[in-house]
């Protein structure tokens, strides 16, 4: 096995561990931190079903962002939806056998890499050229866009410009997933796939320690996930109950 193969095997195990453990700890923290008061942004749903629907509109259509600024919504929504489509297509590199639907949408979804890249460029343009957004941007905000952009571009290069040996890539990841290293091939070493995988691992590592926590965060946002029923039900946290004794 090549050095590259061993190094990337180690890297992806480490990155996966950091991602899963980091995210699990963060989610556990959000879960166990109490929300001591009812603070849904009203008008808010008065039933649990209504809350599920509100959250669905928020995470699928970015409802609040749509109310706010159309340009950010266009680029942000385009980027996220294209990202999910591209990730869905990536299942074919990890599944054996591959779901029919993944095979079926594959040829179509690969072009969504361009939507992803355009979305990111649009978001970056806003960050650079709208004075208010420029003011609130830290270096990490620019670098995050750069990272995602490089991941998108390097990935698209392997598909559209310099084909990589995806069969070998898949066999590599299947070995990692099944812990069966006997017939693990060497990872292709052409620059685009190496850069792509390196940056993906980096993204996985920084996910739980960066603003990417907005992904789990939105589900825990009390202004969005609470039912508007404070007159009907007391909503008292454990630490607040202690004040009553």
């Amino acid at each position: 096995m090549s050095f590259l193969t061993v190094a990337f095997a180690a890297l992806f195990y480490a990155a996966t561990l950091l991602l899963v453990v980091g995210l699990a700890r963060r989610i556990a923290l959000y879960w166990k931190t109490p929300a001591p008061l009812k603070i849904p942004t009203t008008p808010a749903p008065v039933t649990q079903g209504g809350v599920v629907l509100r959250m669905f509109r928020e995470v699928v259509f970015f409802e609040s962002l749509f109310k706010s600024t159309k340009w950010t919504w266009v680029f942000g929504w385009m980027f996220h939806m294209a990202l999910f489509a591209v990730l869905f297509r990536h299942l074919r590199y990890f599944q054996d056998p591959v779901w029919g639907v993944v095979t079926w949408v594959g040829p179509l979804f690969k072009y969504l890499a361009f939507a992803m890249i355009i979305g990111l460029l649009g978001l970056w343009a806003r960050r650079l050229f709208v004075d208010r957004v420029r003011y609130i941007s830290a270096p990490s905000d620019h670098l995050m866009l750069l990272l995602l952009l490089l991941i998108g571009v390097s990935g698209a290069m392997t598909t559209f410009v310099a084909h990589t040996d995806v069969v070998a890539v898949k066999a590599f990841f299947r070995s990692l997933m099944t812990f069966n290293f006997s017939d693990m091939p060497n990872l292709p070493s052409d620059p685009f796939i190496v850069v792509h995988l390196l940056l993906v691992a980096l993204l996985m590592i920084i996910f739980p320690i960066s603003k990417l926590l907005h992904a789990p965060g939105v589900f825990f946002s009390p202004t969005r996930n609470q039912i508007d029923n404070p007159r009907e039900q007391r909503h008292i946290a454990d630490w607040a109950r202690k004040l009553e004794q």
Binding site: D131, A138, P222, D228
Partner: protein, 511 residues
């Protein structure tokens, strides 16, 4: 036009988002609370030597108690959706008045002390130590947020800057840096029972005066009872309703509605204040203590229902928090929500047909309605979501022939704060209040010019006081602002009322 030693914003027909001008409001700070005002609330009198560590410790404590704070400090991606939504940014151009700019004052210290990236790569993620300068910025800018929640409507993660401002104020209180206006008032509530420090005798006097006025006016003996044991309804209303204009005209209206509905009701000298400034300073303990007065008054008077008068933040605490803070209210009549809003009551009576209304009494007005921020975005009226928008308008339309709404992105859930909410209604913040009122003033001016609006109705003591003070700065008449129940009071024809036309309404003509 009122005089000012600062520049009054120009109103525009088509409001524009101003370019960023850093630092324009860095000088704006309210007076700091003296030790005498801090200690009754359980806070230290002044900044201790180890203030830095105490502040970080307080932040850690709040992070463990409030999911909102923890999630919101983590989740912001700096997308900019909120940057043009705050009335204080729109009125001042100061980027630290953009909701995210304000949050970042706290977030940068959070990142420095509570996140991996901020501990090891502070420059990269914009993390900063809590220095005296940062604390100074906190004091300035967390007292430039009216906790109106307009930003939370537009944030893709629902980040509510009010939650961040409340936490920041609590942290500052815990290191002896409290705000005089709020903390002095909370002290008065504990000592006397209301924000204005009106003792029981003065209250009784005022109410007697109101009874005389109404009887002289209408020939009907409408009662404004105080501390009547065994009454069905306890009315809790902001203390400004007892004497300020136009608030008191609203109180007169509540009394007339109760009278015609034939219910027995009472005010309480113990709970003679609806507002709960404990929320403004983010202190659960103080908010709870202030709320418990209402429970105690209800128990002592043996009432069956609790109804709140027109007040915005008060209604938020009442609707959203009272049951949690001071419940359960199982000793009250279960057939009614606890608490109810006076508009829910009045609208209910209107639907039952118990009120005799003469709409023409308000024909000298073309009325628009200002949705109070905390009623709009932090509470409800009635059983349907959005009732807080419909019910006040239904009541206004039931008593006025001419009603016009302001521009759609300035009403309902997108309403602008009056500029004086959240503990900022103090003269030492006059510049901020005038500038923060700009978006509402623009929307108002537009309906005045297009539709000949003569009056703006409101359902919040703070809005009413703020507009009365601020309208003249923009060349408009302070009497334009009216209580919703003032309109009801004008139009209601009491059983047995004198039939002669009286025209003692303050002249509402505009110039």
């Amino acid at each position: 036009m009122a005089k000012a030693d600062f520049e009054i914003p120009q109103l525009q027909e088509f409001p524009e988002v101003p370019a960023v001008v850093p630092g324009t409001m860095a000088h704006s700070q309210p007076y700091i609370a003296k030790p005498d005002f801090q200690e009754p609330l359980g806070f230290p009198g002044e900044l201790p030597d180890d203030w830095h560590d105490k502040a970080i410790e307080a932040m850690g404590d709040l992070l463990g108690k409030y999911r909102s704070l923890q999630v919101y400090l983590d989740s912001c991606v700096k997308c900019g959706a909120c940057t043009d939504k705050c009335h204080y940014y729109l009125g001042t151009s100061d980027p630290k008045n953009m909701p995210v700019g304000r949050q970042d004052l706290l977030r940068k210290v959070y990142r420095r002390h509570f996140t991996f990236a901020g501990k090891y790569f502070p420059k990269l993620v914009g993390a900063e130590d809590l220095t005296k300068e940062v604390l100074d910025d906190w004091y300035s800018y967390f007292h430039q947020c009216s906790q109106c929640r307009r930003c939370s409507v537009f944030c893709p993660y629902g980040i509510d800057t009010a939650e961040i401002s409340m936490a920041a104020r609590e942290i500052m209180d815990r290191i002896g840096v409290g705000q005089k206006y709020c903390n002095e008032i909370i002290g008065k509530v504990y000592k006397i029972g209301n924000n204005l420090g009106l003792p029981e005798a003065a209250l009784a006097d005022t109410l007697e005066g109101l009874e005389e006025d109404v009887e002289e006016d209408t020939g009907v003996a409408v009662k404004y009872p105080l501390d009547v044991k065994g009454a069905d309804i306890l009315l809790v209303t902001p203390s400004a309703d007892f004497f300020a204009e136009p608030h008191v005209d609203g109180l007169i209206g509540y009394g007339k509605v109760f009278h015609e509905a034939g219910v027995s009701w009472t005010l309480s000298s113990k709970a003679s204040e609806a507002a709960n400034f404990g929320m403004f300073i983010g202190s659960y303990e103080n908010m709870r203590r202030v709320s418990l007065r209402i429970r105690e008054a209800a128990l002592e008077l043996g009432v069956k229902r609790i109804i709140f008068g027109e007040c915005g933040h008060a209604w938020r605490v009442a609707y959203s928090f009272l049951n949690t803070l001071a419940g359960p209210f199982d000793f009250l009549d279960p057939n009614y929500p606890v608490p109810q809003h006076i508009l829910e009551f009045t609208w209910g009576e209107m639907q039952k047909g118990t009120l005799n209304i003469d709409k023409s009494a308000n024909d000298h007005m073309v009325v628009t309605f200002h949705d109070s921020c905390n009623v709009a975005r932090a509470s409800r009226m009635g059983s349907e979501p959005g009732g807080q928008f419909k019910i006040p308008r239904n009541v206004i339309k039931a008593v006025c022939n001419s009603f016009v709404d302001m521009a759609p992105d300035t009403i309902h859930e997108k309403t602008f704060c009056c500029g004086g909410g959240g503990g900022l209604l103090t003269d030492d913040l006059m510049e901020l209040r005038v500038k923060g009122a700009k978006p509402r003033m623009e929307a108002l001016k537009n309906v005045i010019e297009e539709h000949g609006v003569t009056n703006m109705a409101a359902i919040c003591a703070i809005c009413k006081s703020q507009f009365t003070k601020v309208l003249p700065y923009y060349g408009m008449d302070m009497d334009m602002i009216v209580s919703v129940h003032q309109l009801v009071s004008n139009a209601i024809v009491l059983t047995g009322q004198n039939s002669d036309d009286d025209d003692d309404e303050s002249a509402d003509d505009d110039d």
